[in-house]
Symmetry: C2
Subunit: 347 residues, 2 copies
Amino acid sequence: MGQTIQDIGEQGLLQRLQAFCPSEVIGDDAAVLPTEPGKLLVVTTDVLVDNVHFSQQTTPPVAAGWRAAAANLSDLAAMGATPLGITVGLGLPATTPVAWVEELYQGLVNCLQSTPIVGGDVCRSPVITVSITAFGQVAPTHVIRRSTAQPGDAIVVTGPHGSSRAGLELLLNPHAGDSLADRDRATLIQAHQYPRPRLDVIPQLHLLAPRVNTVAPDKSLHPSPFTLHPSFTGMDSSDGLADAILQICHASQVGAQIDRQQIPIHPALKSWVTPATALDWALYGGEDFELVLCLPPDRAHRLATQLSPDAAIIGTITTDRTIYLIDSTQQHPDQPLTRDRSFQHFS
Amino acid sequence: MGQTIQDIGEQGLLQRLQAFCPSEVIGDDAAVLPTEPGKLLVVTTDVLVDNVHFSQQTTPPVAAGWRAAAANLSDLAAMGATPLGITVGLGLPATTPVAWVEELYQGLVNCLQSTPIVGGDVCRSPVITVSITAFGQVAPTHVIRRSTAQPGDAIVVTGPHGSSRAGLELLLNPHAGDSLADRDRATLIQAHQYPRPRLDVIPQLHLLAPRVNTVAPDKSLHPSPFTLHPSFTGMDSSDGLADAILQICHASQVGAQIDRQQIPIHPALKSWVTPATALDWALYGGEDFELVLCLPPDRAHRLATQLSPDAAIIGTITTDRTIYLIDSTQQHPDQPLTRDRSFQHFS
């Protein structure tokens, strides 16, 4: 097993981990970073716990690190921000192999690419806990908010959904996917273990003009410094595509019609499970880390074209507050889209 | 015991905790905060684990929250930064009382005063884990760094040392302090449970001009964007006064002479334990969260006067790389100051 934390101590481990950090941020009480003038600071935090958020069976340490970084970078992308850095807080049992922690950090930096790890803390804990805070910056006119969707907006998703849930299924029940080609199996597992945060979408989005949003009377009860500024609308689909649509509609006080035929699902997944299961995983599986954006139709089409073939327009924002899953091919009746999976009973 | 986390669920808990956050930061994937133009971003992170960093015996939840906030705000003060906000990541057993978490948050906001909690995450864990990331901002000319101490600098501490360690002793062994007056006992316990981060020192420090630091040839091997800028020198004493002096001397490649008679120790502590124990707790007890600053003597005297009666000049930075504890009253021989407490064997 090699060395454990108790062999080298917390200070010894911190020294090993500094190899993953830029040298100029080491050695003071806190990291100091330049920011760009006029940009807003964006901050998000996540706590991951062994056997809750990852496990030895489905998540080698390099994947646990990648996924932890991806979740936080995706939150920054969901705000329209470009990353500045992350901090990593670790709670570790004394028996944790040093190699496990180094592989976790390798996974973090693999996903982070040029974004630096600028701070960390390590302490004893009976269970492995990985706590990440990511911060980035965004121009005030380019913030992506959930609360500014408007009736008539087209709803764009930046990529396929359900693949992460499919990859998890293959890791938990390897024989379930015996019918899959090796390459398709690997693609779905990759989607679960190494999801790609869609920071690449942000410069594409910036090619479109943001919209100056009006403030609805009932929203002015909670004035925000941003409601009168231009902004984009959306969030990420880390908690599931259905959750993202429901959250945006709730925050914006609007409804939506989603065409089940337009939700992008990977061909490998379509070939493997029933259409009902594929749709279930696409809507409720979560952790696909795509962006769900609401844009005027012309801009939505431009963005979907820029991001083709993965992106798709899946529906429209409506005035009334109901959210329906419709079927443009008329094979299924309209169904209300709900937070849980009760829609399955109707399909 | 009232409700537990499993009674109200993670979402229910997050809703309760939002009462402690400003409403404008709630409801998107990440918090968005304005910063001042031209300032640098400062980031620090800490992980606290139940029965490692706090316990039911010595730390009620409101004190655990206060201390967690204090440690992070002190790191910001140690960089010369003013706080912008903190994020809080919680790992909690399902049986944790909701009231415990609310009291923890009350302790956080009591210590934070006007600094907002701008983000959080809650998840299941077998052990209570509190992970805090604090961020602030500082003008590039006002960063406090460890590596810029110069021979001839006077070493200022902003307040008494050893009180936190004394308070812990009183909590662990209540009868040990039977000789103490109630008020003195309360003062020392207060120093342990509710230490005051010295953010108030920063504006006082800014009344003094920072120094333009020269770059020593051997330091230029690790060029930093800040070495040619003006800066202040110092850090906080959260890991003990001896540790702070040793860290500053190591980073600055200098030595120091510390006068044991000048180290400020609370009268209640002096009256209670032997001089050797009081000095031990002052140097090695830790968690006093004062600042240790190195300044040209005239500026050091001005700062100590501004911060009187608590602050004191305790010694001088020297050219040779040795660090000595001296005695201006000649009662004790000079002793090398070490990271551990072996100096006690000589006293």
